[in-house]
């Protein structure tokens, strides 16, 4: 079921000469987590604030559960936004912070107390309710902010970079907490991030915002393996791009003909395009014969920790592979090696998407 639907959303900030958001269409399914990804300044926060009612769009519509919420003030949209900083109210205790929304709704104090207690337990802040916000650690404060939003059982939860103000160590912990709570409470959630690994780990769907428009909207592995444009591919660390012309399941490229997967959509499988393969999909060593084997020279290896990067040269075409460090350790720069480009890992980006 569709929870949130943005149609042709457009917003120009006062003073800005270019629209920050330009005709954005986005559909978020009920109960899922969508990661809104994009470089800094892409307009992610702007989208969130538009949905939350903190900005008014210049054009377009925002519908929640099928009904437009455009004319509703923020407090009546059923949307709760959590900001990058916890923004706890400093004059209230943690419990009062968490109960703030309920109090605004006019709930009796006793019911607020019960719900707040339960919520504090869930975010593992039980017993800290009487603290002042400035007596909390960064992670605790961010958890309190999350609790303050979740206790309202919003129709839609918007999280604007909830992890970026945290230490790397705390980030993992918080990430699991968000996942757990989201699954438990089945809250439709949009989470903003500019960190792709975070998006991949957290989200059911990734919406990539580039230049004020939706560049791609798909599940994480789809976005990795089947980027809709060069820009998307590059954003997610794509490095191997081979221009060529496809026909009858084969692409003619600078490194010769490459067998394409059968699953490739017909529109892509015919005509000029750019072939791409993820570096981690490049196989070192002799693969099966139908896997586009090639001979490559090893240009260099770099240890990256849990993987190593291998710079290869096929003829005059550079290729990059990510392999297990054990594998890289057996290679010496200058040697030649067999590599394979398995067809099922190949993908074609149509021409003319460079700008997208």
């Amino acid at each position: 079921m569709t929870a949130l639907q943005l149609t042709g959303l457009t917003k120009t900030h006062p003073g800005g000469n270019l629209a920050t958001i330009r005709g954005l269409d986005l559909t978020v399914a009920s109960g899922t987590i969508t990661a809104l990804l994009g470089p800094s300044g892409a307009g992610k926060t702007t989208v969130m604030k538009l949905v939350a009612g903190l900005f008014a769009p210049d054009a377009g519509d925002i519908a929640l559960g099928g009904r437009s919420i455009l004319t509703l003030p923020p407090e009546r949209r059923g949307v709760v936004m959590v900001f990058q900083n916890p923004l706890l109210f400093p004059h209230l205790t943690v419990a009062q912070n968490v109960g703030f929304g309920l109090r605004m709704r006019g709930l009796p104090a006793a019911r607020i107390a019960t719900q707040v207690d339960a919520m504090l337990g869930r975010v593992r802040l039980g017993g800290l309710g009487q603290r002042r916000p400035d007596e909390l650690s960064g992670g605790q404060a961010q958890r309190a902010a999350l609790a303050r939003a979740l206790v309202l059982e919003p129709d839609l939860l918007l999280l604007d970079e909830p992890l970026s103000s945290l230490d790397p160590a705390l980030r993992d912990e918080m990430r699991s907490l968000i996942l757990t709570l989201q699954r438990d409470m089945a809250v439709t959630t949009v989470v903003v991030t500019h960190d792709q690994t975070e998006a991949v780990v957290l989200a059911d769907q990734i919406a990539l915002l580039l230049d004020g428009q939706l560049a791609q909207h798909a599940p994480p592995d789809t976005i990795y393996r089947r980027p809709a444009s060069l820009a998307v591919a590059r954003f997610f660390g794509g490095v191997n791009f081979l221009p060529g012309t496809a026909a009858a399941g084969v692409l003619q490229s600078a490194i010769g003909p490459l067998t394409l997967p059968d699953s490739l959509p017909a529109t892509l499988a015919n005509g000029p395009g750019t072939l791409t393969i993820r570096p981690e999909a490049v196989v070192l060593g002799p693969g099966p014969t139908d896997a586009n084997p090639r001979t490559a020279r090893v240009e260099g290896c770099a240890f990256l920790g849990s993987q190593s990067r291998v710079d290869l040269m096929v003829g005059t075409t550079p290729l990059q592979a990510l392999v297990a460090p054990e594998v890289a350790r057996t290679l010496t720069p200058g040697q030649t090696t067999l590599i394979a480009l398995p067809p099922e890992a190949l993908w074609i980006i149509p021409l003319g998407t460079e700008a997208g």
């Binding site: 939350a52 903190l54 407090e75 009546r76 109210f89 605004m104």
Partner: protein, 290 residues
């Protein structure tokens, strides 16, 4: 370099200056208020001066007047400043100019403002003339007495004029450091515009507002030249009364002046403690935010 210089050395000059001037002055006042003045042959300290002061109806009337002036000025200024700050936080045509006028007001000495206020609202002042021109009055006496009046309205007006910009600028600075995100959060959590103001913005402004109010209260309570210019002949504002006792040619009145000064100082200490209490949460919050 942090941790190298001992803060004591850095603080020593200021402590010496303040100790040598401020504390010594208070100390001398205190001693003399006990009627200990060897030059005048007074070598037996006693509390006669306090007894005389506290039992004099003139003193009590003056105390009441000064408290009234301070309280009324502070309340009015605080409320108006809150409104002005909320107004000036927004953008609208002419905002810049008003912002400048607010700062300009800060530089105008109180005495000048007092004279201006006198020329503005006295019974023959600009307003009275306007009223005459408008046919509302036919003689100065018909214009309400706003200066040298028993309720010290002129004095209070002057303080409001001077202190509204003062508090407003403090509030604006606070508003700026608070930002709009807390308010936005509140809205997102279901607070209406009014609720967000009432439950989030206002409480967050409160420490600054209260601290500024104490400063205003203290100033309005302790000023000398303003009530002298704008106030009624009787009762006199407390500082005026104290200074006149001090400059009385009858030396016997001096211990009483000193006793009044001590009482004023004690009230000042109360305000100081109030300030320390009110301003501290603000300062601490500033630290955590860094």
């Amino acid at each position: 370099m942090t941790g190298r210089t001992n803060p004591v050395w850095l603080l020593l000059p200021v402590l010496l200056v303040l100790g040598g001037l401020f504390l010594a002055a208070l100390g001398l006042t205190l001693i003399r208020s006990f009627r200990y003045m060897p030059v005048l042959g007074l070598t037996e300290p006693d509390l006669a001066a306090y007894a005389a002061v506290l039992s004099s109806p003139g003193f009590l009337a003056s105390l009441g007047l000064s408290l009234w002036i301070a309280l009324a000025s502070t309340l009015l200024s605080a409320v108006l400043a809150l409104g002005a700050a909320l107004l000036l936080r927004q953008t609208f045509p002419g905002r810049q100019l008003i912002g400048f006028l607010f700062q300009m007001n800060l530089t105008v000495p109180h005495v000048v403002g007092a004279v201006g206020m006198l020329y503005l609202v006295s019974q023959s002042g600009a307003f009275a003339r306007l009223a005459y021109a408008g046919g509302l009055i036919t003689a100065p006496a018909q214009f309400p007495a706003l200066t040298h009046d028993p309720f010290a309205i002129g004095v209070i007006l002057l303080y409001v004029w001077k202190e509204v910009p003062f508090i407003t600028l403090i509030l604006l600075a606070n508003l700026q450091s608070i930002g709009v995100d807390h308010e936005a959060t509140a809205r997102s959590l279901g607070a209406t515009r009014w609720q967000a103001f009432r439950h989030v913005t206002l409480p967050m402004l409160m420490p600054g507002l209260l601290a500024a109010s104490v400063l205003v209260f203290a100033f309005a309570f302790g000023a000398y030249e303003i009530p002298l210019l704008l106030g009624a002949s009787s009762p006199k504002a407390l500082p005026v009364l104290a200074w006149q006792s001090y400059t009385d040619v009858d030396l016997a009145a001096r211990p009483e002046a000193m006793a009044m000064a001590v009482i004023i100082a004690l009230l000042g200490v109360l305000m100081l403690l109030a300030y320390a209490r009110l301003a501290r949460p603000l300062a601490e919050r500033g630290r955590h935010a860094r």
